[in-house]
Symmetry: D2
Subunit: 329 residues, 4 copies
């Protein structure tokens, strides 16, 4: 189902080239100040147009359809709509029988029997993250003073990200990247055993962001080469502050009050303009494919703000479970 | 909450040194053959006792409390109980004010205000995975012919795992490991956009297994150094078989019919018998701690069967969502 | 939360005098034919304008915002929007301190601390049932050949409903009514023990329709005067057909294959133009209130189509649980 | 599914003549004092043995399997088990082909394909309410100072209940009854629009109690004969106290601070020892049936404590949603 969260519940709908994409947020406290302009900074960070991203331009103006009155949340569900304007139909029709390697085309066809909206990835498009970013703007407000910050730390295997993007443009071949996210000023005690650990919930929502294929908390995979005596974070204050943060701020699935730190791997976008071999699923014949249309060469550039939003949604939900956010703000 | 799954719903309860741990499975089809002996192989794989694991011995006999009649499931919820017998109380009382570094002691105290069952990790104990393994036995039956297989591929940074364990015993220091899981004969089309991708659900449940700190699907973190033209898995059959499987059998969050492949990082157990510095959270004074009791030096040895169970639970749930499992078996 | 259903999940949003009301349906199979005109008959049945209903006129045109492509459902969430056009603001501002007796004004203020959208009942308005009717149109399609039919059988205590409405108009006093709903061609076996009996789910959603205060299945309250030998419905066919239907088609919470029959009580609308005594909640002084604005004298006239929709949503959900509706239609 | 509640979540399992019935409560705050003897009064009220109830005797001793430590709740899920001791098998085998009129036998067979535990109603037995009563004991503790009280006000159509029961015994024919429940000292603001009104949630859980076929809030069905000016409850204090309570303490689905009052109709038990006509579902032949075994002549006698428990569970859940119950008690 297209919903996430128990107390702060986010539901996503929409398609890349349909009428709209949008989001409904249920469970947000009443009284939170909310202007359309509050969404501008994060929506701009997500927006394409810069070097390495798709040339498709969308205004991405949030329309409040419900739940906001007199510039405040009302306590009723908030629906925010983004109408699609710069849509194209023709580019996609011909791809139906020739699924793009690495793309959701094939699985969408298998799952929905050919009735899926196949235009530009339809419901599988990265455009759906608009709603997640909008929900994140609201979540960030209510989790204050918790701060969430994500950065692209590596692209195409390089720390110099501008150089990596230039190279990708030159080669017309997409590249991946690593995004690191830190949530600070986190209270101890967030997360629910047995199934809803902080890691479980963050990983759950992070893997709904297109192109993310791995996640690690704290030192993550590096932990497998450490001894217990090295990995254990020693307490240095009765409030739980630790000398190191190998655990990424989480023990036993529960926040320990130190920064929550994790990294995700963003794979290279599957849509590339280079010629690829693929198969015609109707005829069974091998064929060559050159994908036209507008695509991101380094989608990882646009992931940080989406990952922040995802994290904020989880933190909001967990803080509400712990009654750390008032019902009336 | 201590439940997971929409159609095949698993609820875990219990404590390490309380009366019991157990599991309730709701949504299992009626008519599935079920004997207590069916659980023996996987429970044995999970059991401690071998080199590198805790010397605590428990019979781990599953008791069917409901939902099974005439050696078949009835369609009603199945509750399976494991009574604890080999419990100790004294070992843990003194640790209350001196939280073990890297352990859930501190966060449990913060979360439950001192009312938590602190004996042996209480509800945070790895002993809770008994219920997950039991649910996995049932899930594996109903997902047939899907096969799920997990292996410890590396421990303490070494491929020779026996050597790694010997070294850990010698040093009395815990070690981590990497477990790789493969699910084969998977139908295409499992997984639900936007939030319930296959990766989302597997990661969600995997991170509820104690000590797991990272997960990667397909080539995972290695994807960030690949170009799109390298990472894309080329189709070689109209059924979706691909030449490579960099995506780990999942595109756009949906299974593509190739094997689902992923790896998790298991951190070294926090409980070690070496002396560690820690803090008395009541007095605020630094103190030395030497943990007694019975612990696993390489908990990763016991993870594969648990990870298989976790995966089987997700696959069962997703196959039920797709109506690929009959209501009456 | 503003969602209902497990497999066929309906989420409602909106306000009476805000930008819109609407609905998102998640879990609908792909491939269901869907035109905007398919919604016209039921939306017309719900619409006001006839004798005894509010003079507020709204076009109530459904706008498909997502999930429908080439006149069929895609399998992705369907969002349908109804924009409000004929809104008024001034009528409601002055009522803030003087809650209308019997209305949701007072409780909304208590619950949302004054941040609620108070215009015309805001999120508590009967206008929210638009989304439910729209979801019902979709549900009715997929539950076919099940037929659902609701009728107003009594209004203002009279069987002659037109006369009852005339009398209400004459007296400018609102009246209630009884609506009876029948679902026929129901398969046996719908409903889930222990908590999700057919009665539980129908009652749950029925009581979300404004003004409904009672529900009875089969002979309902009359059962309390019957002996077991009288109440028991005797089987007359091996398929479960019974001679009588005192149980309303449900035994042990599960459909038995006979018609599901139930009745709801609709209370008289609280908003009336007669002068009423009430209290100023700020000053504590008693005051007289004469409610202006546009109201329904007999809201029960508009309930049947909403009750059908509510029932169809439950039946769709339960049939999907039993895998009686294909994932791809 | 066999679970109910969002914040205070109750899961029921078990069978009438299987090993046990029981309940898991998830979400209960840590620190609530809890002794097995706390359960005795309500379990005794539910117990059979008095005039008009089944002669089957069970000890009904609650066993705490998890979640309770040092006589307090720990914050982890609480599982309470009731082992069945006085079970009989032979009585039921012969009924398989001859479903009892009015009973769940037939629908259970249809739903679970013959794999259901058919002994004594199996999972459909009134014995499952043991778990609900146990959950209610916990819920009543945490909702304090809210008081919940239910009474049998009418049996077999008579106010003199003892006389009604004597008559039933004389005629060996079962009778129904009306149970009225009042919850007092309720805070205003409980209940969630759009779908989770107080009426919706109470009705949902009430209809999971076997034999309940109708529910009405406040004046209920009598409202349909009242004018708006009669039905509206006039405010007499700024805190929302009303002169009358026709609405049963609920407006717009939200508690208004007055007593919540509702009534349920309990049908006569279907199992009677009088000879009834029925059909052999295998042969299709009409046959006579005389039900042996141990049954309740007036199950309504045992409903009040179950209905209180059901109500307490809903109130606990809604108070937790409003953060009116501390996470650590």
């Amino acid at each position: 189902m297209n919903s996430f969260g128990t107390h702060f519940r986010v539901s996503i709908f929409g398609e890349s080239h349909g009428n709209s994409t949008g989001v409904t947020i249920d469970g947000c406290p009443a009284g939170v100040p909310m202007l359309e302009s509050d969404f501008t900074p994060d929506l701009n960070r997500r927006r394409s147009g810069s070097k390495g991203t798709t040339p498709r331009k969308e205004a991405d103006l949030p329309r409040f359809m419900s739940g906001i009155f007199n510039n405040r949340t009302t306590g009723a569900p908030i629906t925010i709509l983004f109408e699609n304007t710069n849509t194209r139909f023709k580019d996609y029709e011909k791809l139906r029988e020739i699924p793009r390697p690495g793309h959701a085309d094939f699985v969408a066809f298998k799952k929905f029997g050919g009735y899926e909206d196949f235009r530009g990835g339809g419901h599988f498009s990265g455009r759906l993250t608009l709603g997640m970013v909008a929900a994140g703007v609201i979540a960030k407000k209510i989790v204050s003073p918790v701060k969430i910050n994500a950065l692209l730390t590596e692209a195409g295997g390089m720390k110099d990200i501008e150089k990596a993007v230039d190279l990708a443009i030159e080669q017309q071949n997409s590249i991946g990247g690593i995004v690191e996210c830190t949530a600070s000023q986190i209270p101890a005690g967030l997360g629910e055993p047995f199934f809803n650990s902080v890691e479980s919930l963050i990983a759950h929502i992070a893997f709904s962001i297109p192109a993310i294929k791995a996640i690690e908390f704290g030192v993550g995979f590096a932990a497998v080469k450490m001894k217990g005596s090295e990995h254990n974070d020693l307490f240095v204050s009765p409030e739980g502050k630790t000398k190191t943060n190998h655990a990424g701020g989480i023990n036993g699935g529960i926040s320990n009050g130190n920064d929550i730190v994790f990294r995700v791997a963003v794979k290279p976008t599957s849509s590339i303009s280079l010629v690829q071999n693929t198969i015609n699923i109707k005829t069974g014949e091998m064929t060559e494919l050159r994908i036209e249309g507008r695509h991101d060469l380094c989608i990882a550039l646009r992931v940080p703000v989406v990952l922040e939003a995802a994290t904020a949604i989880v933190i909001a939900d967990l803080m509400m479970a712990e009654q750390r956010i008032k019902r009336i703000f």
